[in-house]
Amino acid sequence: MSKKRISIKFAGASGQGINTTGLLLAKALNKEGYKIFAYREYPSLITGGTASYQLDVSNSQINSSSRYSDILLCFTAESLDKYFDNIKENGILVYDFKNYSFSQEQETVLLKKNITKIYIDSKSIATDAGGTEIMSNVVMLGFLWKILTLETDILIDVVLDFLKNKNIDLEAEKNAILAGYNSPSYRPELSKKFDLPQTDMFSQKSLIMTGNHGISLGAVAGGVRAYYAYPMTPATSIFKFLGDTSEETKILVKQAENEITAVQMAMGSMYMGTRALVGTSGGGFDLMIETISCAGISETPLVIFLSQRTGAGTGLPTWTGAGDLNTAVKGGHGDFPRCVIATSDAISGYTLIQEAFNIAETYQIPVIVLSEKQISESLFSVKSLPKESEIMRGLSEGENRYELTESGISPRWVPSKEKKPYIHNSDEHTEDGTSTEESNDTLLMAEKRMRKLSLLEEHLPEPKLYGKSTPEVLFVGWGSVKNTVLDVIEDRNDISYLHYEYVHPLKTKTLEDFIEKGTRIVLLENNQTGQFGSLITQETGYIFKERLLKYDGRPFFVEDILDFLNN
């Protein structure tokens, strides 16, 4: 890894403000001109357990986490125990609870890895500075700032701005930061233990946003006027952002009584001619599947955002994974065309959600947009958002709603008083929408629908190749794995990465060229069975000889790729 990057982790109990502390750190470092990538780990409970917030920091774009932290700051003994092994060689451990006794084993590790441990009584420092114990978080931030050798102005601005409407004593808050900054626990050697890259203070500042923010902004930009959802991590934060900003955007944000309702409402709204989005995760998506099949046969445009988490059943509800590809591509009874698109970061979410609506409306099919907890809830540095995509709706008028056409696409017009009424029918139907059970009618209509899939496949782009066309190793993947692999191979010209955004229907030409050349190909997926690999096999007959799969709820860390390459 030649890119200069360091990693800082806050860890403590859920409910201790770990997330807020991490967010403040991200905002302040962003204002300092750094590029950041923020990754959260937290349990599915409200208070207790262990939660962490890791920020990887660099002076150039960075999109993934290291497995190890240069600086680990702990608020509880449990979190220290949990993350102790992940402190980097030559790292720093800061903790703020008294009476923690390090085991003999731990002491040995500290010595061997040359890790410096520092106790700081952040609660007393906070109260001595005129604040309350909760302000121990910003005391830690102040102390960290000193270690990072940064000036306090930006940090103080960020913290005070964040808290300004929250009925908090801002003066005390400021004093707590300064007290942490000036704590006598600081020693100058600390700041020499890592290599924080320089930033250009005058360069244009990035925005920092999560993948779900990217989806939300893309939805707004692309003319989505209604959002229907039922709470489920990691999709829920879209509901929050679109709800919190709904006075500005005038989008209708409706919490539905369950996922079936949400998706049915979306289908009804789309039939009427607006753009409506639904967001959900695994189990909620399963509940929507009957409706996807209904949208398929009735040729109703529909867009479902599916943010994946770990495992079958309830699995690991707050951890990441990419194991819902099979259900996204294949879920639903009967044969019908659909499109499945995978995002990988905030910008791709912003762009692809707009494309999803264009495809759904143009081809009159259900479109599923995939994300992962790792994308949905991680913070990305975004230089600027791309220009909005042109809105394409494929509207036209005709005699029959389900006219049998060569392209497979029939006229669809927005219902209005001036126009001819028509029925959408989940029964097999004739051109005018009448239910039918005749053999010939059935064949004609089923084949008409499936022609749309061929047409769509023709129009979709080939997967994107990163790196040269004659690599030693070619990784193939989709979703968040892109972020890690690109961070790793940025400066290696022996390794390339082939990234799929459109995972169904599948484009295979580029990949088949590599297969033909005999390139060493490695499948990279965040699931147990290599679901995407199986889809490729199904289409091409190619069986992957090497697969790097991860399915423990954690994303790929840079070391996962490095270790693979080094072994």
Partner: protein
């Protein structure tokens, strides 16, 4: 040019059994639409799956025959997108009180301005006569020679317990009254629940036109019946006779959209707003 029933007729011939209550129900509906001067292009109807839903392609309006139990949320989605349309969710008793009972509860509570038209033939008819929760308890039904071992749901009381803005009951044996009821339901600003006790000559033979004449009474026949009174409504539902008419109205409720804060001053409908929207004003949250 004024509308006639013909304007709502599709070219398809109905497929219901001779004597099925759905004939009268559709006729009553079309008559109501003519009298309210709602043209086929101003109405959206969602249809369920069942004998009731087999009427989907027998009426010429903007329609959607979707999934079993889901005609209510589908109608709600259409309503929320464009309030210039009159919206009706057509549904059977199996769909409404079994597969999709959650939707009925929430639609009434949200008070969307739609009309829910329940075809209550007291059985799952299209799947050939299974018991629903409104089938008489001891009555032998499909696969249940000794009747259903569960208690019935008094659907009227259940609906009333939700405090709907409009609840009326009609019957397919009195299409004129039913048509008037449907008109009132459509005109009501809020979620109107109309239960139609419906003849099913195949699987609910006990309910015949003769039986109806003898046993069904009208709220209109009651002196001083006030459908704004919950007490009056409860009293007649406790009565052993079946009453039809507008059973209950609550005219103090606001409809859903009137309570959606961010849309209060918006003059357009969601369907009018699909265009590129500027996001620059939202970027402040990401600094």
């Amino acid at each position: 040019m004024s509308l006639t029933i013909k304007d709502y007729n599709s070219t398809n011939t109905p497929t219901w059994c001779p004597g099925c209550g759905n004939f009268a129900l559709h006729a009553s509906l079309k008559k109501a639409l003519v009298e309210l001067n709602i043209s086929p292009s101003e109405l959206f109807m969602s249809f369920d799956i069942g004998c009731n839903g087999n009427g989907a392609d027998k009426i010429n309006v903007y329609g959607f025959k979707g999934l079993h139990g889901r005609s209510i949320p589908l109608a709600v989605g259409a309503h929320l997108a464009n309030r210039r349309f009159t919206v009706i969710a057509d549904i059977g008793d199996g769909a409404c009180f079994h597969e999709g009972i959650d939707h009925l509860i929430h639609a009434v509570k949200a008070n969307y301005n739609i009309t829910i038209l329940i075809h209550n033939n007291q059985n799952f008819a299209l799947t050939t006569g299974q018991a629903t929760v409104s089938t008489q308890e001891e009555k032998p039904m499909y696969g249940l020679p000794k009747g259903r071992p569960e208690r019935s749901l008094n659907v009227s009381k259940f609906i009333l317990s939700l405090d709907p803005s409009f609840y009326a009951r009609g019957t397919s044996t009195d299409p004129l009254q039913l048509s008037e009821i449907i008109k009132s339901g459509i005109e009501n600003n809020g979620c109107s629940v109309i239960e139609v006790i419906q003849i099913c000559p195949k699987y609910n033979k006990d309910f015949s036109p003769e039986w109806a004449i003898q046993n069904i009474k009208k709220t209109d026949s009651l002196e001083n019946y006030n459908n704004l009174s919950l007490k009056n409504a409860t009293e007649i539902l406790d009565n052993s006779s079946i009453y039809t008419g507008i059973i209950y109205r609550n005219n103090t409720l606001k409809s859903f959209y009137e309570r959606v804060h961010n849309r209060k001053d918006t003059l357009t409908e969601l369907v009018d707003e699909v265009k590129i929207q500027d996001t620059a004003h939202l970027l402040k949250y990401f600094e």
